[in-house]
Symmetry: C2
Subunit: 348 residues, 2 copies
């Protein structure tokens, strides 16, 4: 059974790990072995000190490979910052962005391979050999696309300026009002080898509770990917990253506000769009969702989403890795619910 | 008083530090302030993991900046190897060549600036701001030149193969028979900005006890540098790296053997050549030495060198930083001897 996810960092990584472990324990609905592919956002990627840093790819790789700092959700445990301190001593770098030494090993290795001319997808495959994530890791694109944020700047003639997403996210904690997101390079990007196939030939496509704007939204913005999502024969089921009007983690609310979408499970589903409901402004369907899982706190949205052709289910959405009395983790129960939605779609 | 040195790694670095400190304590012969320029060999430079490593520049910079591991003569004290261990975990790198984390900070900083398009000489100047070496540090060239070593290889159609100098030096400890040295890129290199001026406008040019083949020899091989050495009005005085038939440090004997020069203080001086004695094979003078300091053990060479126009002096050449009863260090006494040779030349 082929399952494909479009994922950002922490939320996508943890959901994918829960999925992988759940299927390893309880099997797939059709009893075949699970073949999981994760298409990872690379819009947060950044050059720092001449090194290529891919935050979401690393978070997914470390999380699935047992090398993640569980407490913070990103980076490696037992980190040190000897190299970064040296760089600062040379007057280089941002003092609000520290690369740990272990993490830096990954960036040096990646950059060395990129400089040799290997595409990011091949580099990702080689790095993953060490981590054995148990899934197929794919960057959304081999072309660099970097999300920038337009913020107010009274000193600029235009009154605004663009800063890299990481500066807005990490330095300003998304608190600086954002006028819009600009994905530099996205229009010219192509899906990485295997991405379109992973979507169109999947049995199930999942959107984990990743940021719908700057993670999943960026992936869907790579020319060809949204179209593959609309035409795949697989069911597409998403997990709401918004629970009771707030993101579980991260600052997705600031991103949603910037693009004019309310911070609610229902509004995010409507933003993704229904695969059955044609877009009001375009003749073809551009929605990507068949199903949508919301938290119990958002159960009131279920009926309204069903009205636009999105099969919705309400259940507890807080992820957890500890199995309950039924031997299933919270994430495992979400996975089961997604399978249930997909099965319900196929019988209608 | 302008003093310029052509230097390799450990020997050149320690001699330059001794020179700088001696002049700070005892002043220059003419009472003016000392302006010291070190032209450093970059033939040992190497790309490792996509990072530009410049062993000799770093050794000189760390030594003069108080950041050297005194025991081993190169690298930083209190080192760790967390990043390199990560690189090895990814299956990258040579297991016989470890970059310490602190040292790696320098390589990352340098590479970032090189990738931005800055020439190595500018990068070196920027890195030196942190270390305040008290001298002007110049790479011999902004163009990459990497020394390779031709060694026997029965599996190759030619019976030989080229390996990077660092592989021969560090991995094989110079014990693999070397047929010849090949300086890749040297013929197309140009002296870095300031190098020719530093030689031709100097009051004194010193060759510290660096490797005469792969350090000073490589610098002299940059087109234009040897010619500047022959025409400078400054006296050129060298310090023998060979004491009593053996190198004080390093494996200069293996390098000398490869180019057919005997491992002796006298043979090295003859190899550099006298500025007063025309080359037997060329009409113009290609020798670079006016004076030569040998160890007391090699005092018998003094007269024979004088016969070919090289003013020689015998004195203890083992370097040391502890002042003796006269308040002068061993290195300081070598510097005084070099000044003495230069003065003797000017009165003849």
């Amino acid at each position: 059974m082929r399952i494909t996810l479009l994922a950002g960092g922490v939320g996508g990584a943890r959901f994918t790990r829960g999925l992988r472990d759940h299927l390893a324990r309880h099997g797939t609905p059709d009893g075949t072995s699970a073949e999981i592919t994760v298409v990872v956002n690379t819009g947060d990627d950044i050059w720092l000190h001449g090194l290529r840093v891919c935050p979401d790819l690393d978070t997914v790789m470390y999380t699935l490979g047992g090398g993640i700092h569980e407490g913070q959700g990103w980076g490696r445990p037992d980190e040190s910052r000897r190299v970064t301190d040296e760089l600062h001593a040379y007057g280089l770098g941002w003092d609000w962005f520290t690369l740990g030494d272990l993490d830096l090993g990954t960036h040096v290795a990646r950059t060395a391979m990129l400089r040799e001319g290997l595409p990011l997808s091949t580099v990702t495959e080689r790095l993953a050999v060490r981590w054995q994530p148990g899934v197929h890791l794919l960057p959304m694109s081999d072309q660099p696309c970097e999300t920038h944020v337009e913020v107010d700047d009274a000193s600029s003639p235009s009154g605004t300026r663009l800063i890299h997403f990481e500066e807005w996210w990490v330095r300003h904690r998304a608190a600086l009002p954002a006028r819009r997101f600009v994905q530099v390079g996205l229009d010219d990007a192509r899906p990485a080898p295997g991405v379109l196939d992973a979507i169109t030939r999947a049995d199930l496509v999942l959107l984990p509770p990743s940021n719908p704007v700057v993670s999943v939204g960026t992936i869907l913005g790579v020319p060809g990917i949204r179209e593959a999502m609309t035409r795949t024969s697989a069911s597409v089921v998403g997990v709401s990253p918004i629970l009771g009007g707030a993101p579980v983690r991260g600052m997705a609310d600031a991103c949603l506000t910037t693009i004019g979408v309310e911070t609610s499970a229902e509004a995010v589903a409507r933003h993704y769009g229904s695969r059955r409901e044609p877009s009001p402004t375009r003749s073809e369907t551009t929605g990507v969702l068949d199903g949508w899982l919301v938290d119990d706190a958002d159960a009131s949205a279920v009926e309204r989403l069903e009205d636009i052709g999105i099969t919705a289910r309400a259940l507890p959405l807080l992820m957890g890795d500890e199995p309950g009395a039924d031997g299933r983790t919270a994430t495992g129960r979400m996975v089961d619910a997604a399978f249930g939605v997909a099965a319900a779609r196929q019988t209608t």
